[in-house]
């Protein structure tokens, strides 16, 4: 089941009780807010076990973006969901580690399939 956001750029998919959000390469503040609202609503309505943000299409990510994503996923955890990020590009991972970006509470996976294997079909 896919649902494009208001801008029609990113997509959300459910798989085995996990909400998978495919992050667009050019996510701005407004785009992230609409994505967050749509994702949190979906998590609540569908009582999903986890949310995974898939970054396979993202080459660049700033610390401000990550702070917003961290807050977004923190909200998702308060709603009882497990939170993860998959498929970070090496350059982004190096940048985030070097700048000591906040990543607490988020699980990281090499690929989306790894995240689905971990979280899939384990309803909260």
């Amino acid at each position: 089941m896919e649902m494009p956001n208001a801008g029609g750029v990113h997509a959300m998919t459910e798989a085995g009780g996990v909400l998978v959000v495919t992050m667009p390469p050019d996510l701005g503040r407004d785009g992230l807010e609409s994505l967050r609202d749509a994702a949190l609503e979906r998590l609540t309505e569908r009582k999903l076990n986890a949310i995974v943000l898939d970054f396979s299409g993202v080459d660049m990510l700033g610390t401000a973006d990550l702070d917003r994503i961290h807050a977004f996923l923190g909200t998702a955890r308060l709603l009882g969901s497990r939170t993860a990020i998959s498929s970070l590009a090496p350059g982004i991972a190096a940048f985030l580690a070097t700048t000591d970006a906040r990543t607490d509470g988020i699980d990281f996976f090499l690929g989306l399939e790894d995240a689905l294997r971990r979280y899939g079909d384990r309803r909260a």
């Binding site: 990020i85 998959s86 498929s87 970070l88 590009a89 090496p90 350059g91 982004i92 991972a93 190096a94 985030l96 580690a97 070097t98 990543t103 990281f108 996976f109 090499l110 690929g111 790894d114 294997r117 971990r118």
Partner: protein, 299 residues
Amino acid sequence: MTTPEQLLQKFTITAHDLELVRAAGAVIRPALSDFVGRWYGWLATQAEMNTFFEEASTLERVKRLQADYWRTLFDAVIDESYIAHRRHVGSVHANIDLPNDIYFAGVTVALDLFTVMLGEQIDDPPQCTAMTQALSKVIVLDAYLVVDEIAAIQKERIAQHSRAVMEMSTPVTPIWEGILLLPLVGILDSMRTADIMHKTLTTIAEMRAKVFVLDISGVSAVDTAVANQLIKITKATRLMGCEPIISGLSPSIARTMVELGVNVGEIRTTATLRDGFEIALRMIGVLGELTGQPQKVVG
């Protein structure tokens, strides 16, 4: 890139100086073969002579080339072609590893011989002095071009060696399906750390590695900066979804890290590579297969 005009200005060589060099050339050219003979007479007294001119044919060829070299100097046309030729001479000197002392001594001897030749043939002392000074400026410019090219070639060689050493110093190797090993040896600095970070993360993405073992048994010293860099590498590894293990912590390094207050967080550390490898095998579930015991699997 410096233009011929800029070089002439920098070395304060005027059009009048170039006229004086041409005038000096008119005096010296007829005796150039005699000059070359006397210059090689001096070189024969130097130990380097036998090193660079083992064969008589080589010596004769180089003598001819040197005569041509001085002829172009006395033409006093300093343009792109002239500069390129002098730089080529520099590259030849770099290739034969000509020592700087013998090169500069040779330049000094050549200038002395020219001064004597001009003094013998020019009756007007002020004119002779002016010619010698102008000639000195052009010879110094020549020496600069030659040495600058030698330095550039040596710098490039050093850069190549550094790249080769860097390549060898970060051997991120898959040692098992899903397990990468990086045995670190030597001294860590920020440049090397950045290279390790880049290589490690790229290899993790390429090999789809689940576990990364960073073995520091060969690291000579760990201070706060190095420890923090290692932590950042392992943190970045974890952001890629790959579980890091730091192995090979000697008691002294472990003690130092505690004393420095380095926080390794949740990163697994072991005293030996063997222990680290065992944990890595357990993480990917292989140890269970090998021992027949159920194991927790990463991912």
